[in-house]
């Protein structure tokens, strides 16, 4: 991928497992992701596809006792976060204390549920100012002022800074979380289903705001969602994840107009068509395989109308169809960019 030079985030060959006494869950299986500076990448997939695990790996926040980065590297703005040591093992490249400086400063994350991301016993103003104080050399006064600015920026009157999270509605709480995330002007914003818990009209407000702030500050965004509509609206490129792997990646035009992978097509067909209300939905049959017990071949084969013997026996490799578009599917082994669905 020599053509990508100015990368904000680069993940190569990432493999993450969750290990318990009973089983090993293969949450992320050899994925590559990259975001150019100032661009937005959408990561789309269903429950259990490994989207959140990928995000947590970037921040080195996997649950300590069960989550293991087995392989791969992660670098942020050219600086390694996860690197290979001399024996070729993937290890954190930074001390915990240095990683802590990066979190919230260079990379910020917004979680799905704003209530669990806020501390109920501190005022919202205090919580925003806290991250400013931790990351920027400034006085408590200055940090407080910055917090007021941020609140205004996300459309909350600064006069409400002394209120507690429970005094805000869900949409307002998510705005507070966004204010907190953007207070230190991060270079990369990871938004993990930021509007899933919100009503549509509030979702529209929050998305609009993320878009405006992103454009204003030139922030790179990793937008994790299950909603293809949000991807269409917010992102430049999109990676489709299934059972821990990226099965299709490309620009919005590639993935939306020239859909190649049967799973991606299945996702689109499952959505009610707003223009043709009587069209019968074409769901994907069956269920996602148990990530503790993935099949030998293509993880989607059991649900795929095009599956052959080969699909069941052998994992498909990533195949570039154009400069910007790849799929991992045996249908496109010859690398020809034509519609085979």
């Amino acid at each position: 991928m020599g053509r990508y030079t100015n990368l904000m985030l680069e993940i190569k060959g990432l493999v993450v497992e969750y290990r318990t006494d009973d089983e090993t869950v293969h949450a992320v299986n050899d994925i590559n992701l990259w975001i150019e500076k100032g661009k937005s990448l959408g990561l789309v997939g269903e429950t259990g596809a490994g989207k959140t695990t990928t995000a947590l790996s970037i921040l080195n926040l996997l649950p300590e006792t069960t989550g293991y980065i087995v392989d791969g590297t992660v670098s942020l703005d050219g600086e390694p976060i996860i690197k290979k040591n001399r024996e070729g093992k993937s290890v954190p490249a930074l001390l915990d204390s240095d990683m802590q400086k990066i979190r919230g400063d260079k990379v910020a994350m917004i979680f799905q549920d704003p209530m669990t991301a806020l501390n109920p016993i501190f005022t919202v103003g205090y919580q925003i100012a806290e991250s400013v104080r931790l990351h920027q050399k400034c006085s408590a006064k200055e940090a407080e002022k910055k917090a007021e600015e941020m609140l205004e920026l996300v459309g909350i009157p600064a006069s409400r800074k002394d209120e507690y999270p429970h005094q805000f509605s869900g949409g307002m709480k998510q705005r507070v979380v966004i204010a907190m995330a953007l207070a230190c002007n991060p270079a990369l914003l990871i938004a993990d289903e930021p509007t899933t818990a919100l009503d549509v009209t509030v979702q529209a407000q929050v998305l609009e705001m993320i878009k405006n702030l992103r454009d204003k500050f030139g922030t790179s965004v990793l937008m994790i969602t299950h909603d293809l509509g949000i991807i269409a609206e917010m992102c430049d490129e999109v990676s489709v994840m299934y059972a821990g792997a990226v099965v299709e990646h490309g620009s919005l035009e590639d993935v939306f107009d020239r859909t190649r992978h049967p799973y991606t097509r299945g996702l689109f067909n499952s959505l009610p068509n707003i223009k043709d209300r009587t069209a019968r939905l074409k769901p994907i049959r069956g269920l996602m395989p148990d990530p503790a017990n993935l099949p030998m071949g293509c993880a989607f084969a059991d649900r795929c109308d095009y599956a052959t013997e080969k699909c069941r026996g052998e994992k498909p490799r990533k195949q570039w169809l154009t400069d910007s578009h790849f799929v991992a599917c045996h249908l496109y082994e010859d690398g020809k960019d034509e519609d085979r669905l």
């Binding site: 269903e46 009209t201 529209a204 609009e208 919005l252």
Partner: protein, 318 residues
């Protein structure tokens, strides 16, 4: 015009809750009718009263006032015992397939329970046969007969909920966000299933949801709720093509569309839903409405007929 066969006639249904802060108007003077075999979609955002309507119709919550006429019988006038018998004809499917199933009952026990309660099939062998039949109808494999809910994923649990509702051969089902907790590929499976069953059994549905693209696909008529009030009602196609109420317009424009060529003309509403506790007798949407005028702050608009089948409560059309 041919005589339409109305299964459910809801008249001035009202449900207030008494809270420490005052009276909460969850559902305020809502009237509508549903024809046999049709689906009415009720949409709106959190707290608009859509779930309360569903529960009040079935008298899972006692209405504060109003009538619910089901197949000629006024449900609000029935005694407890009469109502219990009546419930055989009306069932409900809940949103959360995790909390709506008893974790200590197996799939077959759960589906058989309503049959026992209504004393429908007394013979054990026949009841087993009926349970297996229902499991096949909703696409649950026979091997899951003795499985417990915790062993199953959300989609399968929702299928149990549907089988349980169908067990007593109801005429009418209230579906309260039946697919909201499910992933899209599973959501499509369940929606298709519910549609097939409706066609086969001639069921009538109330389909309550916050997801507008789902309701557009699923419902014949759509009612839009805002703070306990029905603000607009029309056939699905008409509502999506010619929304009249400013709230409906904003709601529809807020749907993210999974298509990169659709030009978005989004109306971003200011503010948020205000409290439904003792609302003033003015238009409840006025504070957020771009078209609000003096009249909107003086009186509450009535639901009026704008064109055939299309109703709206907005002073701009009075």
């Amino acid at each position: 015009m041919t005589e339409k066969s109305i299964l459910l006639d809801v008249q001035h249904l009202t449900k207030y809750f008494h809270t420490s802060g005052g009276t909460l108007h969850a559902v305020d003077d809502v009237s509508f009718q549903i024809e046999r075999g049709k689906t009415l979609g009720i949409v709106g955002e959190s707290g608009c009263g859509k779930s309360t309507i569903g529960r009040t119709i079935l008298r899972l919550l006692e209405p504060t006032s109003g009538k619910v006429i089901f197949d000629g019988t006024d449900l609000t006038a029935l005694s407890k015992e009469e109502l219990r018998k009546m419930r055989q004809q009306m069932q409900i499917i809940f949103q959360d397939p995790f909390s709506s199933l008893d974790p200590r009952m197996t799939v077959s026990q759960t589906i058989a329970e309503p049959l026992k309660l209504h004393g429908m099939i007394k013979n054990k062998a026949e009841r087993e046969k009926r349970v297996l039949e229902l499991m096949a109808t909703v696409g649950l494999a026979e091997r899951l007969y003795d499985a417990y809910p915790h062993e199953l994923d959300g989609g399968r649990r929702q299928r149990i909920g549907i089988a349980r509702a169908l067990a007593v051969k109801p005429k009418f089902i209230v579906c309260d966000e039946p697919v909201s907790a499910l992933d899209v590929s599973i959501q499509a499976q369940i929606l298709n299933l519910m549609k097939d069953i409706q066609e086969r059994e001639g069921l009538t549905y109330i389909f309550i949801t916050h997801d507008l693209s789902v309701v557009n696909h699923f419902a014949d008529d759509i009612a839009v709720m805002y703070m306990g009030r029905m603000v607009e009602k029309a056939p699905a196609e008409e509502l999506f093509e010619h929304p009249i109420h400013p709230y409906t317009q904003a709601l529809l424009s807020a749907i993210p569309i999974p298509d990169i060529h659709t030009e978005m003309k989004r109306i971003v509403l200011k503010g948020e839903v205000t409290s439904p506790i003792e609302p003033k007798p003015v238009c409840r949407f006025a504070a957020r409405c771009a078209y609000a005028c003096d009249e909107c702050m003086k009186s509450e608009p009535e639901l009026i007929n704008v064109s055939p089948g299309h109703w709206a409560a907005c002073h701009r059309f009075a």
